[in-house]
Symmetry: C2
Subunit: 239 residues, 2 copies
DNA sequence: CGCACTTTTGACTGAGCTCAAAACTGGTGG
DNA sequence: CCACCAGTTTTGAGCTCAGTCAAAAGTGCG
């Protein structure tokens, strides 16, 4: 259950096998959520953190008028609310964007890890820092890229992240978000996101049907996005 | 030199005085930067992290066409690139938005802290998590708020953060960014940011002249922004 | 086959962009 | 003290991107 997380961490540094056991020990239990359910509620104070094992999830915030902004997307192996271990109070909700399986990890157990296993602590800290890098790349895309470029950047990021956990088949990956949900990711209207997607399709850069995205021309997609994967830290070095 | 940082951490949990010494010990040296200089270069691999002691700084990223997006603003007491301790490679630059004084903190020393002082480690981790919360609030503001609301949100956030470090005088604070720089914060054109500022001025919500912002009507500013300071974690609890 | 949801299209509107110029500010040198 | 310069703020005009409203077409499921 901890496996995808461990592989995610292992990709960034050489880790002893004992960390795998250490992490497994603090798992409380597994839970499943249907598409659309809240995995964690905005404003709650969980005593555990949630590791996504299967499915797609997203952090989101609702404005007073009911508009939704998704602030990050999560794939299997992501610790969707590890930050709640120290922030204590959730400043956003987490929604299952597809049927999701998660495991709950005890905060008291995490605290023990910070007291006993400094290297693993740094790796968990790193995990939250990479999420921060992704936030920054989203801010840049929202503020200073064209909408096509913004979409292309998100697709490049998803492609690379899914590839890292073996969820890319050839040039295709399963992506269960509706266009309305993508609009909430990019801060656009439903009508306009549709037109942005069509623009990428008409240039034969991607195809996107049946919840399956195929990257037809990676080089062009990457060029449109100005995508540089450095910020994802997908290499191993001492941390 | 460590004082403002320590007060920042102390606001979030009860800390022994010894942590102050611990942090002071790993300071390498002080440096000063003129307005406009790079404090840290995009793509560099610093072996120290930079604590802002005086002035305003911002993380930024340049697009291929030369547009700049500022992804966060920093005030005295902020660790502007603590994340580089584990991410190793900078995925953005950090610019002095006013004359700045910083102190450099050794990464090897930070690593020793992670090995010897778990509680202080968690507090430093927390510091990076709060920056992440701020990133999320910016994403929401960029994606789903009106431009007036977005600006109002940034001003509320600055007001509260500056108040926490005693940089608010009555209802006013010094804010040295030009409108062009604010445009890079919000992802707008220079012309349009000017009109957004004028809208808030004409409603007597703020005044902004001479690098000084005065909040004339906090309640209205907060309402326009839908500002909820929870995400800044400005209270003390065991972490 | 019918219902709910999602995607697509069209028409119109408005927010925010660019280009361009004018007004204002603070600092410098004569 | 004044003229000048660079940087910043402000205003105006026209255009484009992206929003809303509304409806049609497509899809999957019971």
């Amino acid at each position: 259950m901890i496996e995808t997380l461990f592989r995610n961490l292992e990709r960034r540094d050489v880790l002893p096998d004992s960390y795998r056991t250490r992490l497994s020990e603090i798992v409380i239990r597994e839970r499943r959520f249907a598409k659309g359910e809240d995995i964690v509620a905005d404003g709650s104070r969980p005593t555990y953190s949630t590791l996504l094992v299967e499915g797609f999830a997203g952090r989101y915030k609702l404005t007073h008028e009911g508009a939704r902004q998704i602030t990050s997307l999560h794939v299997p192996g992501d610790f969707v609310d590890l930050h709640a271990f120290l922030l204590k109070t959730m400043d956003h909700g987490i929604s299952a964007l597809s049927p999701c399986t998660v495991v709950l990890v005890d905060h008291a157990g995490l605290k023990r890890i910070t007291e006993q296993v400094p290297h693993l602590t740094r790796m968990l800290w790193l995990d939250t820092l990479i999420t921060g890098s992704i936030h920054r790349s989203w801010i840049v895309a929202m503020g200073r890229r064209s909408k096509s470029s913004h979409l292309a950047h998100i697709l490049c990021e998803l492609y690379v992240r899914l590839q890292a956990i073996d969820r890319v088949d050839g040039r295709s990956f399963h992506f269960p978000l509706s266009q309305g949900e993508m609009a909430d990711v990019m801060g656009l209207s439903l009508v306009h996101i549709n037109r942005v997607i069509q623009a990428l399709r008409q240039e034969n850069v991607i195809s996107w049907t049946n919840q399956t995205i195929t990257v037809l021309d990676w080089d062009r997609l990457q060029a449109i996005a100005e995508f540089d994967p450095t910020y994802l830290n997908l290499w191993s070095e001492p941390r």
